[in-house]
């Protein structure tokens, strides 16, 4: 079996470039037409920022930064986490409505299909991240948030962190999606994954003085390094060096891409 499926072309060839573009094009078109998806993906993070952040912000601040501004980078990661991983559900739907067969039966290699899917999903998620960055900037400019640095450099660095994080997270969603038969099953598995990832990332609390039992979970969580990197960039509060944050996130994304490529090759309909 293994050898037989290896006979499929697995490398990305020039002839696959248009196909990769096609997969991206489809995601972007669908995203454009389902505006409600964009709106709902923005509303949820804003609720966290304004209600949890605003509520606790009246009594809390960390490292001289108001709580609301403190969790702003965490909310960026949270938004990316939820929409990127949940993007994987579309591959489960594709299996159901059979669009996936149309792609799998084309001459494109599985690796190229995976890359096209990552690009499509990352574009959706990053678009939403950009909107949240703009919202953050407007809040800062109008005084709703304070202590956040929006400079060319900080925004550029934030985008780098968000891009690397998103690629890894979209891959996780696609890996799970490629293995699942039903959207319900996908949601169940993903919920068990992303809620702990969110709560253990330090998005909502500082990670300097955690209880001993909690610390390992937080340190092992790739999202922790995204939050730390973004918080360092935007608010100036980081536990690790930005270089280490970047390295960990990049390594995480590379590993996820490798696993995802493998999962797509083995994917059954």
């Amino acid at each position: 079996m293994g050898r037989k499926s290896d006979a499929r072309g697995e490398e990305v060839t020039v002839s696959d470039l248009k196909g990769i573009y096609a997969l991206w094009y489809r995601e972007v078109k669908v995203f454009q037409r389902e505006r409600s998806r964009v709106v709902s993906s923005i509303i949820n993070p804003l609720l966290w920022l304004l209600i949890i952040g605003g509520g606790l912000g009246s009594v809390l601040s960390f490292g001289g930064v108001n709580y609301q501004s403190f969790i702003y980078p965490g909310v960026l990661v949270q938004a990316a986490l939820f929409s990127a991983v949940f993007f994987g559900v579309y591959i489960v739907w594709d299996k159901k409505i059979d669009f996936l067969k149309e792609v799998l039966v084309s001459p494109m290699s599985r690796t190229s299909i995976f890359i096209g899917k990552i690009l499509g999903g990352s574009t959706d998620t990053l678009l939403q991240s950009f909107i949240l960055l703009i919202v953050g900037y407007l809040f800062e400019a109008t005084g709703i948030l304070t202590g956040i640095t929006f400079s060319l450099l900080s925004v550029a660095l934030s985008i780098v962190f968000l891009v690397m994080t998103t690629i890894g997270l979209v891959s996780i969603g696609l890996i799970i999606g490629s293995q699942m038969e039903s959207p319900e099953g996908f949601q169940l598995v993903v919920s068990f994954l992303i809620f702990p990832m969110f709560f253990l990332s330090g998005a909502l609390f500082p990670i300097e003085n955690l209880p001993g039992w909690l610390s390992p979970f937080v340190m092992f969580n790739p999202a922790t390094y995204s939050v730390d990197g973004l918080r360092g960039t935007l608010v100036g509060l980081n536990r690790f060096s930005l270089g280490l944050d970047f390295l960990v996130i990049t390594a995480f994304s590379v590993v996820m891409i490798l696993i995802g490529t493998y999962a797509f090759r083995k994917m059954r309909l």
Binding site: S5, D16, R26, K29, E102
Partner: protein, 321 residues
């Protein structure tokens, strides 16, 4: 050279053998049908031929390429219309076709030209910029037919192309398929469990049951081999031994007070049959159908519960006693 040749093609799912040592040849330009009940192995065969699943053993050569050793080349040679809709309904018809052209790495100019050509062929030019979710079932199937053809495949696979469509739309699809075979000079492989579809559309048929071919040939020949017409006599009993001896009588069966006589050609032989059996309450004549052919080779009706199938099945069982 055959455009498709399967060699002992086999697929097992655990203990179930879905396709059992299938060996057949299909010629270029044919409309070839795989006819059989649900679960006969038609779709599994199609999935193997289109490289979506690997065979357990054996292989097939498609357009000169081995499905196991050169699946990429095979995929470039074929087009497929799946049983379930596989177009993106959020996108327009045009966009779905454009995606297809991109997936097959078509040259941009050729792609745009082909999109309009195939849209004209299936008469969807006017609706090309509407979202697919606004299409009717028949329009959607036509769009997928057009899509399957876009990249000039040598072979087009159609998996139950008219499943779930109303009779009028089915008729339209048949017309399109015929037209495609002629205008695009391609080989078309159809799976179906509709007798009328197999009968009217296919040049040649393989009747499959439990993963095996039970009969192979043009629909007319398959029916002729078994006789031409069935005469049903009511209100008659007896064995009619004298009828069995006649050279134009293929079979005689009696069941529940009715007698079923299979003859070469009822228009010629009905009178003689009636002369020999004497007075009857009523006579009914119908041509032999593929249903009867299927029944003959498998002992079962394709669709249980259908009036005609039930009718013929009873006759069959009577004959076996």
């Amino acid at each position: 050279m055959h455009i498709i040749e399967t060699r002992n093609l086999t697929k097992r799912f655990n203990s179930l053998t879905a396709v059992d040592n299938l060996s057949l040849q299909i010629e270029e330009g044919e409309i070839f049908g795989l006819l059989g009940p649900n679960g006969a192995g038609k779709t599994t065969t199609l999935m193997m031929l289109t490289t979506l699943i690997p065979p357990t053993s054996g292989t097939a050569i498609i357009n000169g390429f081995d499905i196991v050793k050169a699946p990429d080349q095979v995929r470039k040679s074929i087009g497929i219309v799946f049983q379930d809709p596989s177009s993106d309904e959020t996108l327009t018809g045009y966009e779905n076709l454009k995606l297809h052209g991109l997936l097959y790495d078509m040259d941009n100019e050729l792609r745009e030209q082909r999109i309009q050509e195939v849209l004209t062929l299936v008469e969807l030019t006017e609706r090309q910029h509407d979202a697919v979710k606004k299409y009717s079932g028949g329009m959607r199937r036509r769009l997928e037919l057009a899509r399957g053809l876009m990249h000039h495949p040598k072979i087009l696979f159609l998996d139950e192309p008219t499943l779930g469509l109303d009779p009028q739309t089915r008729g339209h699809i048949w017309v399109y398929v015929r037209k495609l075979a002629v205008e695009e000079h391609i080989t078309i492989i159809i799976t179906t469990h509709y007798m009328d579809e197999a009968d009217r559309l296919c040049d040649r048929l393989a009747i499959v049951d439990q993963g095996k071919i039970v009969a192979l040939g043009p629909p007319e020949k398959l029916k002729k081999d078994l006789g031409g017409d069935i005469i049903r006599l009511r209100g008659k009993n007896g064995q009619f031994e004298e009828l069995r001896g006649l050279d134009f009588v293929k079979a005689v069966r009696s069941r529940e007070g009715d007698v079923y006589i299979t003859v070469k050609d009822a228009s010629i032989h009905l009178q003689e049959v009636l002369n020999r059996v004497g007075k009857v309450d009523s006579v009914e004549v119908r041509p032999l159908t593929l249903e009867d052919v299927f029944l003959h080779y498998t002992g079962r009706a394709i669709r249980d519960g259908s009036p005609e199938g039930g009718w013929a099945e009873k006759a069959m069982h009577a004959g076996r006693r």
